[in-house]
């Protein structure tokens, strides 16, 4: 019997559409033919991998959504507590005491941030980072001040709007071929290269990163319309992105 027929019989069996006689024949064959048994095992393993992949993708998305909303709540709660302190304390200690308390909180907060080991600035938003970099740093590609980035190509820069603790862009980001894309990640990586692959697995772009970089600006026109995957060299996690034509 050809392998194709074997596969058909397996699907019939899994479908429950066999007559009693066909099913008994199937089970007899399974017990006597190791190749047939192997084919059925492969079919099972294949389905398990496919289903696990599907589940992991959905779990990843659910968990990161939960983490992000929890962090956002923590951040809002933190801001609200600071605000409440600001409203309550003046009546008790006067303005000088409030200023001292705020400075103390800022110092403690910065110490806690430095104490995270990896130096990850978990609660600094992209906007904060851009504002800070505009005054101090130059852009990694153009060498111009970061505040001038929007100047070149007259294109809109697609950036993340949430907290700066996630990888950007991801599969939920709407990207267009005419966009300048700011690739960003939570902290500097040991790997010095960012790789972009197309849907056929071909390497489209290998970008050299500066030491301690946690973002990279990709100019428009490099990624045409299509599905891409980006990752760091020697890293196994691929992030899917989709680039569409400008509507």
């Amino acid at each position: 019997m050809k392998k194709d027929d074997y596969n058909d019989r397996i699907e019939d069996y899994l479908d429950g559409s066999m007559s009693n006689k066909e099913r008994l024949d199937f089970e007899r064959l399974l017990a006597t033919d190791p190749d047939f048994r192997k084919l059925l095992d492969e079919r099972k393993e294949f389905q398990e991998l496919y289903v696990t992949t599907h589940k992991i993708t959905r779990l990843r998305s659910k968990i990161s959504e939960a983490i992000n909303s929890e962090k956002a709540t923590e951040k809002t709660t933190g801001a609200s507590i600071t605000g409440q302190i600001g409203r309550i304390l003046p009546g008790i200690f006067g303005r000088t005491a409030v200023a001292a308390a705020i400075i103390a909180l800022a110092v403690i907060g910065s110490l806690l941030l430095f104490d995270t080991g990896a130096g990850k600035d978990e609660y600094i938003t992209l906007a904060d980072r851009q504002a800070a970099s505009a005054t101090k740093q130059t852009d990694s590609i153009t060498g111009k001040a970061a505040s001038e980035i929007t100047g070149y190509a007259n294109r809109e820069i697609v950036t993340g709007t949430g907290t700066f603790d996630e990888y950007f862009p991801d599969e939920f980001t709407k990207l267009h071929t005419s966009d300048t894309i700011r690739f960003a990640w939570p902290e500097p990586r040991a790997s010095r290269h960012l790789m972009i692959f197309d849907s056929k697995g071909q390497l489209v772009k290998k970008l050299k990163l500066k030491k301690k970089a946690s973002e990279y600006l990709l100019m428009p026109g490099i990624l045409g319309e299509g599905i891409y995957y980006w990752k760091f060299m020697n890293d196994t996690t691929l992030i899917r992105i989709s680039v569409n034509k400008k509507p």
């Binding site: 389905q47 992949t53 599907h54 849907s199 691929l238």
Partner: protein
């Protein structure tokens, strides 16, 4: 539920991760990976409740850290640092999962749709649990566990969902699974586990 787990258990995971003093370990990543593994284990009934879920999650996260560091040759596992004995359902290698994701993306929409339906998954409705098989399996069916048997949706049901003939559904599934299989055969990491046609 995940927010609750993050809120209450993340601190323990973070403390384990920071104990390794490594730049390559991100507590958020480890937590996410650990929670995925723990969720799959719970679903498969492999968490027997002997310890609290928090202890279980932290042990899985510790294993992940050690595995990652070992992979980067930052640590060599010694007898003192044996992995906790946890029966992990989450055993498919990470790169195989990522490759499968990439291969799935290479299929056209109709192919993904019919394979998902056959395997009891649906991206559109968000139902991601296997759909119970409508006809119970025979009492002594030869599959050791009924997972695959139970989770396959019948072509007759698929055909009514898609508004096509059952035979067309069967042919489309056959063509699509053949395509995915061919892509897997081209991929070195899968080639080892598949029988060539």
């Amino acid at each position: 539920m995940y927010r609750f787990i993050y809120k209450h258990y993340f601190a323990s995971v973070k403390s384990i991760v920071s104990g390794f003093h490594s730049l390559i370990l991100d507590p958020d990543d480890i937590f996410q990976e650990g929670l995925i593994a723990a969720s799959l284990n719970v679903e498969k009934g492999r968490f027997n409740g002997e310890s609290s879920f928090q202890t279980y999650l932290v042990a899985i996260c510790r294993n992940i850290c050690l595995k990652k560091l070992n992979r980067h040759k930052r640590v060599i596992l010694t007898d003192f640092e044996k992995l906790d004995v946890i029966d992990e359902a989450y055993c498919a290698p990470e790169d195989q999962i990522n490759r499968m994701l990439r291969l799935k993306a290479m299929l056209d929409e109709k192919c993904r749709e019919i394979i998902n339906l056959r395997f009891g998954l649906s991206e559109t409705t968000g139902v991601d649990d296997p759909v119970p098989y409508s006809v119970p399996p025979p009492e002594h069916h030869p599959l050791q566990d009924g997972d695959v048997y139970f989770s396959n949706k019948r072509f007759e049901e698929i055909s009514s969902i898609l508004g096509i003939e059952p035979d067309n559904a069967r042919q489309r599934f056959k063509r699509c699974i053949g395509k995915l299989r061919a892509l897997m055969l081209k991929d070195h990491s899968f080639k080892m586990t598949l029988t060539d046609s």
